[in-house]
């Protein structure tokens, strides 16, 4: 319950992220529910879920660091090792598998020069095999920092890796990447967005999404 938290542990966070942490904690009936959103926020602050990040989240919600660690280690999206500026997640679950997802994954490894879950030496790009990302009608599909591209090919993912290296966008936008590297979509996406991801944390308001040009 509220009151047990120790906000001083995040005094070194950016003022914006401190404000977001307080808002997240206030939005739940019980503090412990804030563990997952706070882990995302800590990922933005530290670039990944560091040991310090888990201790800070534990202090904020009033539980043991080991309890936070048990949560962080359960979910694939909390990266407990440094991850690149651009995390490429390639789906090879059944619909993507049937339409060439495994070849797309092999092309991504080859273009980036890394293996599964690894990051390039310059810290720019990580590639991982992902399980179903809900884009089966536009298979095969990938995500860059969880922003979606549907209908990709081995050639196009090699071009995507080159584009990320060359242009190094501060924010990756799903509509722009779909336009450049995508094909068949699961459905009409509707209006284009100018908000995207600036790191390997889902670009969603309470954790901070980023606008183009930031």
């Amino acid at each position: 319950m509220s009151g047990s938290m120790n906000r001083s542990v995040i005094n070194h966070w950016s003022p914006e992220n401190q404000r977001r942490a307080a808002a997240i904690l206030a939005s739940y009936p019980e503090d412990r529910s804030a563990v997952m959103p706070l882990l995302y926020l800590a990922s933005r602050e530290h670039r990944y879920v560091t040991e310090d990040a888990m201790k800070e989240v534990a202090a904020l919600v009033g539980i043991a660091a080991a309890q936070v660690r048990s949560v962080a280690s359960f979910y694939t999206m909390y990266k407990r090792e440094p991850v690149g500026d651009y995390l490429i997640s390639v789906c090879t679950s059944i619909s993507c598998h049937l339409l060439g997802g495994d070849q797309v994954l092999a092309a991504a490894f080859s273009a980036a020069g890394v293996g599964n879950g690894e990051t390039t030496e310059d810290g720019k790009i990580s590639v991982e095999r992902a399980e179903c990302i809900g884009a089966c009608g536009g298979a095969p599909a990938v995500q860059v920092n969880y922003e979606l591209i549907e209908g990709i090919t081995p050639d196009k993912i090699a071009a995507l890796v080159a584009w990320l290296n060359d242009t190094q966008p501060n924010v990756v936008l799903t509509d722009e990447m779909q336009q450049l590297f995508g094909g068949q979509r699961s459905f009409d996406w509707g209006p284009t967005e100018s908000v995207g991801a600036s790191s390997a944390v889902p670009a969603f308001g309470p954790y901070g999404s980023a606008s183009e040009g930031q």
Partner: protein
Amino acid sequence: MTTRILTTRMEEHPSDSNSMARYLDTGGYATLRHALASLSPEQVASEVKASNLRGRGGAGFPMGVKWGFLADSDPKYLVINADESEPGTFKDRQLLERDPHQLVEGIVLSSFALGIHRAFIYIRGEYPKAARRVQQAIEEAFEAGYLGADICGSGFSLDVSIHLGGGAYICGEETALLNSLEGRRGEPRLKPPFPAVAGLYSRPTIVNNVESLSNVPWIVANGGTAYSSIGPERSAGTRMFSLSGHVKKPGNYEIVMGMSWRDLIYGIGGGIRDGNELKTWIPGGASAPWLVPEHLDTPLTIDDVTALGTMLGSGAVVVMDQTTDVVAAAHSIVRFFAHESCGQCTPCREGTRWLQDILERILDGSGRPSDIDLLLDVSDNISPGLTWPPAMTTICPLGPSATAPIVSITKYFLDEVKAKIDGFEVAVG
């Protein structure tokens, strides 16, 4: 008779179906205003019960009956399951991104019916765009007075917020989802107690799927009996099907149940790509045992599909043509379940990994003649008897789901599996 309930707005107004302006312009929130002014909570609940809508998340349990189990003790919660993760399924993503206000109105109506004042929308972490669109809809709804305190001057209040998942299929299981929402590992709980009695924070909780709740505005506006009269008995209403794999026209289709599989795959789906032959298909997500061409003329209803020893599940239809290596396809599905096993129950944690390893060595050319029996033996230890619906040695159905592709390939494609293993005498055609 209306055949479109959920997708009318997004089809007619593709550029802005997600906006409040368009939602209001097309009659949105009129049902909520009417219900709050003129109907009792019991009347709203009785329309949903009369609709006979069976939950669209996969289990197919009647929504109104589930609501009837909610214990009458405050506080109680509504949790919206938007953790769509069953391989092949992408319908809820479309409903979230393209018509989020339809869901929000369904949430407010349902909360009013159930006397609930706090709702959480649990959206999988890999759906950030869906989360952004729903967040925008929530903010617009608060601004317009359709959420928050004293909604439309009725005295009824509701707070709604989004909780993003962390990348774990198992959180689509409702008790795992509740653990996750409490800030814990997403491990399913033993039932009973059911969430309706002891759910979020051990309080009475209703967990409903996105598609189920998105139907509620139409049901309340048109009446439950109007909804139940659409389509065959016990498969009432329209339903979103996610069509993917080797069809010419993949996508989400809102259809009235009762058509045949042939109508869906060859009519709506445009048939098989490249002029190829249909080999097999998954009728209801990766957890479902597969069907083969002899089943093409079976009606597409929940009960008819169950009678074939499989399920409509989440409405995900994955089509495979003659070029498909069924062992590789089964391996993709088994690897998924091995990766997503939460690890609580030994048969699932160990068994799914065994199944993956055995399929891997068959694919590598190192399969043994005993491997087919071994696959079935491991499967039998996860789901004794390999019957349908599956028997369980586990807390939740994830482990038994991993046996579906094993049962399917050994039942329909045994020669093809054998041909990948040295030591079998296989007739060469």
